[in-house]
């Protein structure tokens, strides 16, 4: 299991993505799975950086556990920001034409569609978001 604890700041996105490369190295042959994980880690990290602490700043912890028996990649984000359940966020209408499309909500929608499981709980003053991707070899 790999863990990073870092200030939730979009300026540190590259640092998170560099850490992620190392964490994903055991499954780097599964290019598609890795790309999707890069996308969702960015979306969630940026979301926490932009909204969790209401401008006050704070940390986020990310852990990645690649389970050898079933190929599941389990990613957990923990922050102590404002309670926010991304699963309660309304989904964007992806059938609208360009002029009617709004620009919000896309990131979380992509996370829900690209992962096999997304679950959220608020416990002991922390937002805990767990994502699971089943890596098909």
């Amino acid at each position: 299991m790999k863990t990073i604890k870092i200030e939730a700041d979009t300026k540190l996105l590259d640092e998170v993505l560099n850490w992620l490369e190392d964490a994903l190295s055991p499954i780097k042959e599964s290019e598609k799975t890795c790309q999707q994980i890069r996308i969702v880690v960015e979306e969630i990290f940026v979301n926490i950086a932009n909204y969790a602490y209401g401008g006050l700043g704070g940390e986020v912890q990310i852990t990645i556990d690649i389970q050898k028996n079933n190929g599941a990649v389990v990613i957990v984000f923990t922050d102590s920001g404002i309670p926010f359940d991304p699963l309660a966020y309304p989904e964007p209408d992806v059938k609208l034409c360009a002029m009617d499309r709004r620009v919000g909500g896309l990131g979380i929608y992509m996370v829900r569609k690209m992962m096999d499981s997304v679950s959220y709980e608020y416990r002991n003053w922390h937002n805990i978001l767990q994502l699971i991707k089943i890596n098909k070899f």
Partner: protein, 102 residues
């Protein structure tokens, strides 16, 4: 991310390399918008060398598309790899950008 943009007969040709994410999506958009002028009728974006795109990049594409639609122009995006194609499919961007289904 790297983007090269050139103009030819009122069409902007943009070639994108690498990943378009939160840290560079606004640079990507600015590079293209800075070369748009009133005579521009079409933007053609070659993404065959684009690794992946996050929602920040999708928002940049959406804003460019809105700009072109509002000015009776058009925008074409071509060459999506598998991951990018799937991202477009999930988010409704295949229809939005007029990309043929595979």
């Amino acid at each position: 991310m790297k983007v090269s943009v050139e103009e030819q007969d009122h069409t902007l040709l943009a070639i994108v390399h690498g990943k378009v994410d939160t840290s560079n999506a606004s640079d990507f958009e600015k590079e293209i918008v800075s070369k748009l002028d009133e005579k521009c009728r079409k933007i053609h974006i070659d993404i065959s060398d684009m690794e992946y795109i996050s929602s920040a990049g999708l928002r940049a594409l959406l804003r460019l598309k809105k700009r072109m639609d509002a000015n009776e122009g058009s925008m074409a995006v071509e060459g999506a790899n598998e991951v990018v194609y799937e991202t477009f499919m999930i988010t409704g961007f295949l229809d939005l950008l007029g990309i043929e289904k595979r």
